[in-house]
Symmetry: C2
Subunit: 66 residues, 2 copies
């Protein structure tokens, strides 16, 4: 799952720690999601979308071919 977190964060000049705090998750979680280590849960994806005022689809891109 690709995502635009890094860019969205950069546009706002936020650190991973600051983003994590707003999402109420750990900094490591933000880092892991940004680096594609795992996908966020659906509730967290909604929280991210709400924070950036974008749709989930505008932030996370599914890459499954099937």
């Amino acid at each position: 799952m690709k995502n635009r977190l890094k860019v969205l964060r950069a546009e706002r000049d936020w650190t991973q720690a600051q983003l994590a705090q707003q999402l109420e998750v750990s900094r490591q979680t933000v880092n892991a999601i940004e680096k594609g280590k795992f996908d966020p849960s659906l509730p967290l994806a909604f929280k991210v979308a709400r924070l950036f005022e974008l749709s989930i689809e505008e932030i996370f891109q599914d890459e499954t071919t099937a």
Copy 2:
């Protein structure tokens, strides 16, 4: 997390088992999600959205106030 799965399924006259098969998950998973027992993973939410040709937001509604 509320969702419109039951209605979307009814509109297409699909059983939970048929939907599960198309999503490549177990029937119990479809049932549990429909009944709100747990939220789907983000990849599964994307798969559901793709199947119904709707956005994730049109199918799943976040209910967190915060």
